[in-house]
Symmetry: C2
Subunit: 463 residues, 2 copies
């Protein structure tokens, strides 16, 4: 672990004058901030600061900039591509104490929150008003982190990703200016779309400190269902046909037999250990019933068996918490293992083919690899379970992922549907978009000429 | 009218060597390309070229760049803020002959088209497959132009604007490179969102030559309705309550009594000449019926009278063509007049207040000003009918629009919901977004260092 070598005393003094005890160089805190949920080795920052306001973030940026010190924004560390690693040291700006919901406009169906508010916290604070924030990546990530990584998750097929659900941002730029990217109306044609430029920029163009998001009325009726299939193809084809019929399904998750086995072991449930769809329908009572009947019929045509309903809130919660725990359940398939998570996304017409070919690759692997994902978007994940101290495992995982990315790219897909580029997929991005990456480098140089904002992520500047 | 002074013989020779007779300096063609649907005076280009492919556009850009000559992309000239005016002369790149639908992926619900394909043409070519492209700004604009101006229109409340419906673009950059901004999956977290950066950039960052858009299954049932109200407040409040209930209404247009009068005169219809809502519902038979009943009840609570249904396709078409002709119908209220179109958009909770205050301003005006708009988005238009040869009219219109923009900005709104900045709203953009415009200028300088791509639009570089 690197020592806080880079930080000269003056920088620390200036930060401390600004934030007092909310500056630390303690080893434990630095270690905690030097990793995310990915398999990448620790890369701790030299110091961690905990600002409470946009103005404090601005002042931290100004100080770091004067000292030419890298800055790494941090939410709750749930990212999956090494986004928060301090590869070049520097100051980690932990935004988790910026956790106030600043405004809820129930009539406008929007809310403005500080970047450190988590999605569950936001949902708790708006539930009494009959509102919800639907973007749900599983982990209880911060809204700022979700915006920074263009997160999505199980509800995206109906409600979109962070791209569609962020209305405006407050950003501190690399030159320590506070910029509001847009005002609050639903739509605008006022100039370049700065909001969308910062959504998904992973802290490399500026630091998101406040986020205005869209909210939705909690539907009158919500009902979930589980259905198992003889093969993955049947499950995926069911979802594709559903979308082609224009049925506005809210969630559609496919899980392989191995994932179901892990879920059963972890949750003491008794699902069939076969390829399975978890579905959810939102709407009016009658609308939900109608949607569900149509989908049940489509599922039956594709070999679906034993449609089971979960209409009571507690049953729905149990079902989705089982889905959300797939990651932790999967880890238990190989005690002591860490997961290398893949994240390809392809046009849905190619999804069955992509999953079938990937399943064949899984069958040849030396380790267990559960597969599950957001099939309504064409996005699925493989959890490659590696032993952290076995370099051969990691090599095998990387080779598997590279084959998977190449397969997805050959099918007009993307190397990342929702996890982002981070440190891990810079090469894949270049393979995917070619010359467009030159434009991204130009953007990075324009917004961050000193390369201090989360350096080493998204693009390589030495290319 | 300026002469083709700037273009030296070499430039014309090079363009002619490339495109033959698809290069012209004829006065008539230049005049036609020197204006759009706005009230701005002619500013014709020095030459007009008609490329057929991305490669030809690239070669035109390369030639113009070498000669330091401005380039103005042009679709069918339906923009409303002087986007196509050749303020500094130069070469107009008319993309209307790039009108091939390149690929329709019915299974993936997307299509890739050349920029000159119009939205009606696209809809005709996909209807047989049960598909539709819903973004509908009224005019039969090109898909490329709609992407360039971030267009939306009557369906945006349900289906989103071009921001949400463009999956990927092919763009020719200012340095004559062909860049594909993204691949074809529904979602991606692969790097900076170049697609959204070019959507709404109005030809100032590069020239859009191909567009991949989302398609939707034509709903099983569609039904439209007309309902009149004693006042505009009742109409607008009906829509707001509908949205707050989460009812997925497809279109909701409010029109003032004067607009209804103009429509009746133009179409020989007999609508009540009162504030009116035009509504549309998409879904299954049962779903549409249920939505419509809920909305009818909400309308009744807000003083709605005489709900009239249009379920047959021909009745729906008549209704929406009446809505789309509101612009041309409005022009007939004052023979010989041109329209200054306003375009503010506010959070919906402020919409009633904004429309009520604006109506009071209309009552004081010396000219007729019909008002109508996409109230589900918070966006409405005033058509200020000016006599083109009366400078006092234009002055009054500009002052009216400035008051309206200031009113919208004071309500956290935007100066433009869907028409864009063009030549006309550069000052309003600065008022709206302040420091954020500095970032836009930096983007413009990065992507177009010689300021040749539709110069004088969106941002002022001398500021």
């Amino acid at each position: 672990m690197n020592k806080p070598r880079e930080l000269d005393a003056t920088l620390l003094e200036e930060l401390t004058a600004l934030l007092g005890s909310r500056v630390t160089t303690s080893r434990g805190v630095r270690e905690h901030h030097g990793k995310d949920e990915s398999y990448y080795p620790y890369a701790p920052p030299d110091a961690v600061v905990f600002p409470h306001s946009t103005e404090e973030v601005r002042d931290v940026v100004e100080i770091c900039r004067r000292h030419r010190t890298p800055m790494i924004p941090y939410g709750v560390g749930t990212s999956l591509e090494g986004h928060v690693l301090a590869a070049n040291g520097g100051v980690c700006i932990d935004l988790s104490q910026m956790n106030r919901v600043l405004a809820v406009h129930a009539d406008d169906l929007d809310a403005t929150v500080q970047a450190g508010v988590t999605r569950k916290q936001l949902n708790e604070e708006i539930r009494h008003a009959g509102l919800m924030f639907p973007v749900d990546p599983g982990a209880d990530a911060t809204v700022g982190g979700m915006a920074a990584t263009r997160a999505s998750g199980t509800n995206a097929v109906r409600y979109g990703t962070m791209r569609e659900n962020v209305l405006a941002l407050t950003v501190v730029t690399a030159d320590a200016r506070v910029v509001r990217t847009a005002r609050r109306p639903r739509k605008s044609a006022a100039g370049y779309d700065l909001t969308r430029l910062f959504v998904g920029s992973e802290g490399t163009l500026g630091i998101i400190t406040e986020v205005t998001v869209r909210l939705y009325a909690i539907p009158e009726a919500m009902s979930a269902a589980v259905c198992s299939f003889r093969d993955m193809k049947g499950a995926v084809d069911t979802v594709i046909r559903t979308l082609q019929h224009g049925i506005p399904i809210a969630r559609s998750e496919a899980l392989c037999g191995l994932t179901m086995k892990a879920i059963n072991a972890y949750n003491k449930t008794a699902y069939k250990e076969q390829p399975t769809l978890f579905l959810e329908f939102h709407g009016t009572e009658a609308g939900v019933r109608e949607q569900a009947e149509l989908v049940q019929e489509i599922a039956r045509e594709h070999g679906g068996e034993g449609f089971e309903w979960a209409t009571r809130p507690e049953d729905r919660t149990r079902l989705w918490s089982a889905r959300h725990q797939a990651y932790f359940a999967g880890l238990q398939l190989r005690p002591g293992a860490r997961a290398v998570s893949t994240d390809v996304c392809v046009p849905i017409s190619r999804l069955t083919e992509c999953i079938v070919e990937t399943s064949a690759d899984i069958a040849r692997a030396s380790m267990p690899i559960p597969l599950f994902g957001h099939v309504g978007d064409g996005n699925f994940h493989c959890m490659i379970l590696v032993r952290p101290d076995e370099p051969a495992d990691l090599e095998e995982a990387k080779a598997f992922n590279e084959r998977l990315v190449n397969r997805a790219l050959a099918m007009e897909g993307t190397c990342t549907g929702e996890h982002g580029i981070g440190s891990g997929k810079i090469g894949s991005l270049e393979k995917e978009l070619g010359d467009a990456v030159d434009l991204m480098r130009a953007l990075k140089r324009t917004f961050d000429p000193l390369n201090l904002m989360n350096p080493g992520k998204v693009v390589r500047l030495d290319a």
